[in-house]
Homo-oligomer: 331 residues x 2
Amino acid sequence: MRCFPFCKLPGRVMGIRLLRFTSVVIIVLLLVAGALTALLPTIKDDKLPNSRREPKTQSQSALDSFTLIMQTYNRTDLLLKLLNHYQAIPHLHKIIVVWNNIGEKTPEEMWNSLGPHPVPVVFKVQTVNRMRNRLQNFPDLETKAVLMMDDDTLVSAHDLAFAFSVWQQFPEHIVGFVPRKHISTPSGVYSYGSFELQNPGFGNGDQYSMVLIGAAFFHRGYLEDFQQQPEAVYALIDETQNCDDIAMNFLVAKHTGKPSGVFVKPVDIRNLEKDTNSGYSGMWHRAEHLLQRSYCVNKLVNIYDGMPLKYSNIMISQFGFPNYANHKNKM
Amino acid sequence: MRCFPFCKLPGRVMGIRLLRFTSVVIIVLLLVAGALTALLPTIKDDKLPNSRREPKTQSQSALDSFTLIMQTYNRTDLLLKLLNHYQAIPHLHKIIVVWNNIGEKTPEEMWNSLGPHPVPVVFKVQTVNRMRNRLQNFPDLETKAVLMMDDDTLVSAHDLAFAFSVWQQFPEHIVGFVPRKHISTPSGVYSYGSFELQNPGFGNGDQYSMVLIGAAFFHRGYLEDFQQQPEAVYALIDETQNCDDIAMNFLVAKHTGKPSGVFVKPVDIRNLEKDTNSGYSGMWHRAEHLLQRSYCVNKLVNIYDGMPLKYSNIMISQFGFPNYANHKNKM
């Protein structure tokens, strides 16, 4: 009887015969399984050109993840609340907290005692309380993308995941949730504002010429570029403790020759400043805040010898989210 | 007395003295005016990077305007209604009517008798009633951009002006108002549909992988490319009298390696087919229409030996239009 390859096995014991039989059955099953896999249909690659969600590890590709940079002053309670939220955002690589509470201990001990955490957090202790501290070219940055958030702003994970995918398609732009504009006036003096100001007058509807960096993604290269700006820019930001975001929009617009920002309409964005116990309510409540920003626009035009900001009216939303039929029309 | 350059003039008559005086006054005024213009502030260029509205002339730049291509069959009443609308769209250069009413006179005489018109219309008489007639590389095309519209679809001028500006920022894509998708199934067979189908499953929300050309802008180069496709593609379109738009999306996706379309959410899009006197209600009412489209997707995958379509979830709307505060959030 044919028994190769089993003839070589010692065959004299009843147990061995059973072993032979079992081995044959197993081998036949494996061959059948192998044949079946060969019959499976080929899965065509029709995946998103964007990065898919990958497990958060330190080795995550520099293009597939981003670093959150959050500057904080006198609102540590809000900071900790927000850290619990942002630490769990998809595609987050690391958090950098820019600690503007000069002379005060960071909450690093508490943070560590409440670990483990999904991502590492680095507390960068500052020596002077400056608005532009957050625009340093931090060596801790390992990703191409930066997400910059104010320490009183909560944006949902859904919005952030979508906006990050949009940034990946527009990496040279500031992709964010807060659009603003400048307008020209007949006197040639510019003014700064939002949609309550008149439309710039290019066809229907409104335009924006800036996207604020307090809730936006941008390329880390712009932090490097920011270190190369004229001294007068730093002096202006330090003098006003304001306008670092306007300066960044000038920088990006000059670099690209296009509108600096791409506006993504947020579904869920919240300002938590009323929730703070510190009583501190943020720079934008200062009486002179908006006047300062108009002032900054005109100063920056002088410094850069021209107005580089360009208008856009592109508003991006997520197709089929949150409402799966949010694009339905009556046709 | 100093009188140069007037000393040379004959000075003896009283009238000449007056003439001298007047000339001096005029010259002084001109000099003052010249000095004033030098003091005017420089107007910085902060205009839209996109084309501005220009008067409609034949010499309009090939990039600043588009050509409407509208194929028509058995709905001349709708065609004429739509021509009155579309002839007045901003940035329109010319209209090409693809006349699929074989053996029937075009309404050219009536059109001419009701002139003048804002733009020229060319009636391209066809010899066979084919769906793909509209995808010829018409020599009448002088613009880079084509707007293709079905002969029962009305899109507002506002939507079209905005979508054209979006196309100018995404010239290699089909920029339009009707998104569709394919989905993969475990069997490997694809199916075609809209948002009523399950989401493709890449994160939150839905995705689209096609933008239908019956209401969209695209680059005329794709009409040239379409002439170079495998015979089997033409055979498929002729066999089904359908799917020319799916084929175009395959073509564009293959060419770019990116999602073929960019979806612009229309504010005002209307299907007028109920308004026709012809009783003809359009191909998509045929019982087999949607099944054919799924069939076409799978056939095209065979013909092109792969699935080139890619998903996108970008939905573009116009900032501040129609509602100037349409991006306002509760923050």
